[in-house]
């Protein structure tokens, strides 16, 4: 009888052994995302005695330039947290209608990034509109550089016709992807600068989201990071 009971309970015990104690949410253990053609599982550190180490345990940096950022990066741009990023990874990122952008300079990116992110430094969005690097990056975001646009066409577009609300003299944002931009966290101005640069180029604000927690917020929750190859 005891052996039978043990045999009955064993599979349950084994399945519980695989359950995580530190989940993302009560119903979510992890999120999977593709990063540089590899499947990465994003989960939290399971050691409940662990305290944050490394550069993101640091509380104070000289301000300026490392000043506390406002909650909203710009008008019309939504600020989001980790859970919204997980949803974004499973929806927009997966069906290729969205991108997660690490807007930090390459020196930061090389040290480690949020899985699923691509690196477009904020400096790119301040380049001249004809700069090939900017055109390439905007192409990745789904925005197209427009050729010569006639005055008549622009007049019609200015009334919101012919998709005019998604176009300006320089760019066509009709197929522009939804973006999540992030940098080091609440004290970092790199992604807010990138967002302002994008808005100046005419990128629709409703297609941009700002993850203010950044790498500091990510690390403080013990979430997985990847070191780019």
């Amino acid at each position: 009888m005891t052996i039978r009971l043990l045999l009955l309970l064993l599979p349950m015990a084994l399945s519980n052994a695989h359950a995580l104690d530190v989940k993302l949410t009560p119903s979510r253990d992890f999120v999977e995302v593709i990063h540089q053609s590899k499947l990465i599982k994003i989960q939290r550190i399971q050691d409940q005695d662990h305290t944050l180490e490394g550069g993101f345990a640091k509380t104070s940096r000289k301000c300026p330039p490392f000043c506390i950022q406002p909650m909203q990066a710009a008008e019309g741009v939504k600020t989001i947290g980790q859970l919204e990023i997980f949803d974004f990874m499973e929806k927009e990122l997966l069906d290729e209608t969205g991108l997660i952008i690490d807007a930090r300079t390459p020196a930061w990116w090389k040290r480690g990034t949020i899985p699923g992110s691509i690196n477009i430094p904020f400096t790119v969005f301040a380049l001249d509109v004809d700069d090939p690097q900017l055109i390439d990056m905007m192409h990745i975001l789904g925005a197209k550089r427009r050729g010569e646009v006639g005055g008549f066409t622009r007049t019609i577009e200015s009334f919101g016709l012919m998709g005019g609300d998604q176009k300006n003299d320089e760019w066509d944002f009709t197929s522009a992807k939804k973006l999540v931009l992030w940098c080091n966290g609440m004290w970092c101005g790199q992604s807010p600068r990138a967002i302002k640069g994008l808005l100046e180029l005419g990128y629709p604000a409703d297609k941009i989201m700002y993850y203010r927690g950044g790498m500091q917020g990510w690390q403080s929750l013990g979430l997985t990071v990847v070191v780019p190859e």
Partner: protein, 131 residues
């Protein structure tokens, strides 16, 4: 006339001064960023978690123990082989696929048996996942 010239000259000087100041402040900011980044070290435990979650490489190991990897959705694969090849080569589609119910997975597999064309299988996965 002279006054006008003087004002114009002062305005030019002011504009060039402001642009120099802006460029200098940008360059100072970039310098500060580089300085901070050079000292940066990430928490080792988050990095370790990442290393153990490389599904793509673990799949390759599974196959090496079974007489070599299969990289294409060739006709005649078993259900398990089909899933592993999907995972190895079409990660995006696989992520959609793995969320399907067992009966939906069966439907995709049956579709593959009749149409072993990767692009059609990917379309089928998307179609089933939207139901």
């Amino acid at each position: 006339m002279r006054k006008g010239c003087l004002l114009f000259f002062v305005a030019i000087l002011l504009i060039s001064h402001l642009s120099i100041v802006a460029a200098q402040s940008n360059s100072d900011y970039l310098q500060s960023l580089e300085g901070e980044a050079s000292e940066l070290d990430l928490d080792n435990k988050t990095k370790n978690a990442n290393q153990s979650s490389n599904a793509a490489s673990s799949v390759s190991k599974e196959w090496s123990g079974q007489g070599g990897a299969i990289f294409k959705l060739t006709p005649g694969l078993s259900f398990d082989q089909f899933e592993v090849v999907l995972k190895n080569n079409y990660i995006g589609s696989f992520l959609f696929y793995k969320r399907l119910s067992n009966s939906q997975k069966d439907r995709v597999f049956k579709f593959y048996q009749d149409n072993p064309d990767p692009s059609k299988i990917r379309e089928k996965i998307l179609q089933v996942s939207k139901e």
